[in-house]
Amino acid sequence: MAFVVAVLVVAAALTVAALVRPRNRPDPAASAALERGVPTFRVVALGARGAGKTLLLASMYHQMQTPSGRSYFLTAPYDQVILLNQWFTEVADTSKDWPSGTSVADTREFTFAVRTRAPSGALHSVLHLSYLDYAGGLLTDRQAPGATLQTELLDRIGTADALLGIIDGYRVRQCLDGHPEGRMRLQQTLTAMISLMMLAASPITFVLTKWDLLGDIDADEDGRLQIVRKLLMSNPGFRDLVEAHSAHRVVRLVPVSAVGPEFAEIDAHGQVTKLRDGHMYPTNVDAPLCAVVPDVFEQVERAMDRERLRAALADIRGQSRLSPAAALAQLGTYVLGTAGKALGAFGPSAAGFVGEAVTTLFGVDDEGDVHRQLRVERRVDEADRALDEFHVARRKVLREFQSRVDVLEGRLPSSRLSGER
């Protein structure tokens, strides 16, 4: 009888252990940890009402939601995808009006994941981008008593990882055409932008929207940009701002068109209207993000990896208080989700470090523990390989971002504002 009971006890214990033990299949917790480790960059576009912030956002997502020759693409929560596609479709429909502007109450944040597929087929999120969409009047209009959103916006600008200064190409066009309203509005925009960006430590990039409306001021595209650049740099505040930021990094002026050159025109009344048979071919809408991300990433990557490594070590040390099975499961999770990524940045010696940590953790002095040590080390090696793949994929994406900017600068040398010639 006692023997039967003993067998029952052992069987039950084994069942419990087997159920609790982590499986070989991908662990959702590890995946979640991996996602958690991906940094989110907060980008805020500063622009007046009607400058094209929302349309740039919709067009950028539309163009970047598929790789189209790139190694990366953007994804967003589905409700946001629906909204962005709806806006883009509304713009593209030439039988409809332009969409109404973003209202103050419509202020919202969009979150994008920059994703890439590794050679193994695994899909990685290499970084997240948040983009605040708001009513431009929050920047330029006086606020009513009891309003709070402007204060929140200023807080967001102060803590942003990167700032995009949106310059309305329509205002530039009006200005170049000698329209006083255009000059006044452009000045208003630049003044608001300058006061906020002068204080910012984060990278800044200027985006010239509605580039298609400036198509006839010069036959050569870089010649056009040079004219605009000259106009902007003639503003002392703008010039000082560019110089202040040029001390740390390159400042660019990226011309974009969310609709492309064959979609809209300025009519006889001076208003922008859709062409009846217009087609949308967005231009350079991916470039602003490409310009800011590598700069930001370089700044935060090292600190991020160092912090992750510290957290991983603390957690590994904490495992010694757990049972071996639970510790093994936790170790696997952390190596996959956190430590490995951090270790990847520290090169191949990182695997050796993890091995040592494992040895310390389990105290493999007895011959009976050797098998367990081997199993743990094998698991760590697998995790490290996967994380190496992740790092390679991330580097590739960042190189492509940089390359995109280099190509733009090669084609439009005037897009580089730093170092006024």
Partner: protein
């Protein structure tokens, strides 16, 4: 409880953008204007798709005043402008976009509302009048204070909603969601904060969406199995404990010269009926010793504060209780 409110009064309001200026409060209840507390209106009231059913929003102003707002969205038409000069200016903004007006009425408390079309119609007239003044001088314009009018909508008092943030103009919006229009998408929150407007369900869904799918706990699927196995383990352990308990805890030394028959040793061990009180957690079972005078055994306290309890009388052993008879020789 529900009442058609002949005495309830509503205050018209209008939130709109001009040809140049962005969305702002153009017309606001007089009590909010007097208290300089109307800035929350454009932050909460956004345009919906024209033609949608009216929206009902509840909010608390920066000064802590609770409001119920019923609003509808209208695209400005030339006929809405009575002034020929204003009409000549067109019904689009300077970027060629249609002008949308969000107007309606405010009720100075938190109530459920079945909006009557007539009330919105009544609010439209002062709203359009104020908008005309706004368009005439957008830069120099100051908000117009509205006067109350009797409501025909059905108002049902309800407990104040739990609104986040007492003084931040927080709001909740009931009624049709804004998906499908340029209205707010509930959910991702604004500027990283909680969502202020939009259907709460959509907000919750979007919050889940913003961070990806809600994490599924893999342990949950295995929980019944783990619990079952654990229960089996516990049952087996109990069985072992029970079987172990049936055996004498320790064998007393054999009595010299005593035979296996005719002796009745005292039993030390847990809970045999009629012998000792069962031990309780945190106590040590009383130790049984031979009673003085050979009349049986009594319980004495254990180490941890257990009071000695009287026990049922034990039949007197016929031999010493501290030893047991040696088993008969097998030879």
């Amino acid at each position: 409880m529900a009442q058609t409110s002949p005495t309830g009064r509503g205050w018209p309001f209008l939130v709109a953008a001009g040809r140049r200026r962005d969305f702002t409060a153009v017309l606001a209840p007089a009590f909010l204007v007097t208290d300089l507390d109307y800035g929350v209106l454009p932050e909460v009231i956004g345009p919906a798709t024209p033609g949608d059913p009216p929206r009902v929003s509840h909010l608390r102003t920066r000064h802590g005043r609770r409001l119920t707002l019923v609003s509808t969205t209208r695209v400005l038409a030339p006929g809405d402008l009575t002034d020929p000069l204003q009409r000549a200016g067109g019904v689009r903004d300077e970027h060629g976009r249609p002008l949308r007006l969000v107007y309606g009425f405010a009720y100075p408390d938190t109530v459920d509302v079945q909006p009557a079309r007539a009330d919105l119609d009544a609010a439209r007239e002062p709203a359009l009048a104020a908008y005309g003044r706004f368009l005439a001088d957008e830069e120099g314009f100051s908000v117009v204070a509205s006067q109350p009018f009797p409501l025909r909508s059905t108002l049902t008092p309800r407990p104040a909603p739990r609104v986040r943030g007492l003084d931040d103009g927080s709001a909740s919006t009931a009624g049709p969601g804004s998906v499908g229009g340029r209205g707010s998408v509930g959910g991702t929150g604004r500027m990283g904060g909680p969502a202020r407007a939009g259907a709460p369900a959509a907000a919750a869904a979007a919050r889940r969406g913003a961070g990806g799918a809600a994490p599924r706990n893999p342990a949950r699927g295995r929980a019944p199995l783990v619990l079952g196995a654990a229960a089996a383990l516990v049952a087996a352990l109990l069985l072992v404990a029970l079987l172990t308990a049936r055996r004498p805890a320790a064998s007393p030394p054999y009595c010299a010269g005593a035979s296996a028959s005719g002796s009745r040793p005292a039993v030390a061990g847990p809970s045999r009926p009629g012998f000792t009180a069962p031990s309780r957690p945190g106590t040590i079972a009383p130790t049984r010793v031979a009673a003085p005078g050979g009349s049986g055994s009594v319980a004495v306290p254990g180490r941890v504060g257990t009071a000695a309890r009287p026990t049922s009388p034990v039949p007197a052993p016929t031999s010493s209780p501290t030893c047991r008879p040696a088993p008969p020789s097998r030879r």
